[in-house]
């Protein structure tokens, strides 16, 4: 009796093994995308649930589902903690069969996930994090850095400010990987343009009250106060700087990284006149407007997409194109990313572009200025274009990044 049961079991196991074997012989057309983001904290509006929607829209627009592919998105909250982000990434790769992680704002978390992804040979399409190290010292054959980076911000905004006479700087810096990278990259730009940096104060991530730091910036007497922070930290600094009469006292703020939801949160009254660099704005052309309208209709609070959301959409779309060209099998992340680099990029939001060997996605950047309340026609009509930085000038030359993949 017992031996018969065992035989039956063995037969069942063998049969299962056979079916599994025959399944892998065919191409695997199941792709799972993980949106690892700040879902609830100070970066949740610029990435978060909007990035999940953007990925979802990219899947729909790729047309692969109609061709019999199975593609889905799951979301995770890294809470801006590298250890939490690493744990989720490991669990997704090892247990939940995630093939590619997207978005991931917060440079600290992004650098950690970059490492895990390389170790597991999966793919990492970063849109939300800023540190230029992702395509520099920390570059990886499994990572593409899509939307923007600190070098781009420093050169876009920093150079424009220095050239318009802002030659002495004091930094208000978020005290983690991102803030440090942005301060470093901007300092280089300021010095290269014969400006001086009089000092910096480093504040903890997610600070509500900036008055002490602003007072220090004020007493530094620097012409420009460079905000090397992001999200809620930037909006709070700008709001409180106007309260403490910093701009009225003759000093200028340079918001090195500002996203559309930040401007919306500040209101035009406070934000007007700020100049900053982004790579996407919803109101650029018919295609961006069409996408943004579709996006905002599906967002719970009807917000327009940030450049991070746009980057997630564009990156996932290109990833799926590469997947289709390979005929499936997302398991070998490095192979998929290599295919992505080989194919030119082209989509409605960023236009035509390329991905460099170091993982840097290349497209133009734009210097924007926030409109005055009188110039705005309504909600979300916030930016006017000051200058376009062509794609070949927008990002750090590959040879200067120190990436081991660049020969």
């Amino acid at each position: 009796m017992q031996s018969r049961t065992i035989t039956a079991l063995l037969a069942a196991v063998a049969a299962t093994a056979l079916t599994v074997g025959s399944a892998t012989a065919q191409d695997n057309k199941t792709v799972r995308i993980g949106n690892l983001s700040d879902q609830s904290g100070l970066y949740a509006d610029l990435g978060g649930p909007g990035s999940t929607l953007a990925a979802q829209m990219a899947i729909e627009d790729s047309g692969l589902v109609a061709k019999g592919w199975k593609i889905d998105v799951i979301a995770g909250d890294h809470q801006n903690k590298p250890d939490v982000g690493t744990n989720i990434a490991r669990q997704w790769y090892d247990v939940d069969k995630v093939d590619v992680i997207v978005d991931t704002p917060n440079s600290g978390v992004a650098l950690a996930v970059n490492q895990v992804t390389r170790e597991k040979n999966k793919a990492f399409l970063n849109s939300g994090a800023a540190t230029s190290d992702l395509s520099g010292k920390a570059c990886s054959p499994n990572t593409v850095h899509w939307t923007y980076d600190t070098w781009m911000l420093a050169h876009g905004t920093g150079e424009a400010v220095v050239k318009s006479g802002g030659d002495s700087w004091f930094f208000l810096t978020a005290d983690y990987a991102f803030g440090h990278a942005l301060e470093r990259d901007t300092t280089e730009v300021v010095k290269a343009n014969k400006g001086t940096v009089t000092g910096a104060v480093r504040h903890p991530l997610n600070t509500a009250d900036f008055s002490s730091f602003l007072l220090q910036a004020q007493s530094s007497k620097a012409k420009i106060i460079g905000l090397a922070n992001a999200g809620g930290d930037t909006t709070n600094s700008i709001k409180q700087a106007s309260e403490f009469g910093i701009v009225a006292g003759g000093q200028k703020l340079a918001a090195l990284l500002l996203f559309l939801p930040d401007v919306h949160a500040l209101g035009l009254q406070v934000a007007q006149g700020l100049t900053f660099t982004e790579t996407f704005y919803w109101d650029m052309n018919d295609q961006t407007r069409a996408f943004s309208k579709r996006f905002s209709e599906r967002m719970k609070n009807k917000m327009m997409p940030s450049m991070v959301h746009a980057g997630v959409y564009s990156a996932v779309l290109h990833y799926l194109k590469a997947m289709e060209a390979l005929g499936g099998n997302p398991g070998d992340g490095a192979k998929v990313v290599a295919k992505m680099k080989e194919m030119p990029t082209d989509d409605a939001l960023f236009g035509k572009g390329t991905i460099r060997a170091d993982g840097r996605k290349i497209h133009p950047a734009y210097l924007f200025e926030v409109k005055k309340p009188a110039e705005s026609k309504g909600p979300w009509d916030y930016y006017k274009l000051v200058a376009t930085i062509p794609a070949d000038k927008a990002f750090r030359p590959a040879a200067e990044g120190g990436c081991s993949l660049v020969k």
Partner: protein
């Protein structure tokens, strides 16, 4: 040296918020024996109430200062009647867990509706502008926050420690049966006390609205520090929480000047030291 004076004033401003919030917590803990983890959520609701009043009803800051605490206080009364009253006599842990869960739910709902970057709320026209004190530029609004919260704190202390009503309250926490025997409606008094504590949090929320963004998580980020303030001052001590609130604001301000990287941890370092040396807090009565 000038910068140092500036930092001290800024510390006082933050101290005002610590004092107002920890005062509400102390009142609730002292009278109801409940560790009110939902305090940060009520603080946030106060700020949102101000925003709603302005944008939906057209009522400005001064009305909000009066109405928002009443509205949120009413929510507090409802919470006490429907949930917290059943926990009387149970271990502290139950109240803590219930209010913590409540805070998560409230924050989640607001976040779902309004996102996380927050909404703008302008400083009222009467309080715009700033004074040049020589060593710093003090915004009028911040000066108002210091004065107003100091008045509210001292008035609360006076009512609870120096009036007949306060005496009833304190008696009702010590020996509820006995006070009830004198014909005083103890459960109603406790409900109203909770409502009052919640209203204090909402008041702090209205005060904070023009300074910070009106954000769903504004309370969650703040409340942990405020709990540390309460622990340092001594759980349930009214004067203790006021004095410690202002003092810790000052110490934090000094840290921001001398070593800004530590400014978010200094309060907890002090808390650890106080717990080692005086486990009941600086102003706490020995149990």
């Amino acid at each position: 040296m000038q910068a140092l004076y500036g930092q001290l004033v800024v510390g006082l401003i933050n101290g005002s918020f610590y004092a107002l919030l920890s005062l509400g917590l102390a009142v609730i803990f002292g009278m109801l024996n409940i560790i009110n983890f939902a305090h940060g959520a009520f603080y946030m609701m106060g700020a949102f109430a101000a925003y709603f009043l302005l944008n939906w009803a057209g009522l400005g800051y001064w009305w909000a200062l009066l109405l928002a605490p009443l509205m949120v206080g009413a929510v507090g009364v409802l919470v006490e009647r429907t949930m917290l009253q059943w926990l009387t006599g149970l271990d502290h842990l139950y109240g803590l867990l219930l209010t913590f869960g409540l805070a998560l739910v409230i924050q989640g709902v607001f976040q779902n509706e309004f996102g996380s970057s927050g909404l703008p709320y302008a400083i009222p026209a009467e309080l715009r502008g700033a004074q040049n004190l020589g060593f710093m530029f003090l915004p009028n609004y911040r000066a108002w926050v210091i004065v107003f919260s100091l008045v509210v704190c001292l008035a609360t202390w006076f009512v609870i420690e120096r009036t007949k009503l306060g005496a009833y309250l304190r008696a009702a926490t010590e020996r509820p049966e006995l006070v009830r025997a004198f014909g005083i409606d103890v459960p109603r008094m406790i409900t109203l006390t909770y409502g009052f504590g919640v209203a204090l949090a909402a008041l702090a929320g209205v005060l904070a609205a023009p300074i910070n963004q009106v954000r769903p998580l504004m309370g969650a980020d703040f409340i942990i520090v405020v709990f540390a303030v309460v622990v340092i001052g001594g759980m349930g001590s009214i004067m203790g929480s006021i004095v410690t609130g202002f003092a810790l604001g000052l110490i934090e301000g000094l840290t921001k000047y001398f070593y800004p990287e530590a400014s978010s941890t200094v309060v907890f370092v002090i808390m650890a030291i106080v717990l080692l040396v005086k486990p009941n807090g600086l102003f706490g009565r020995t149990a």
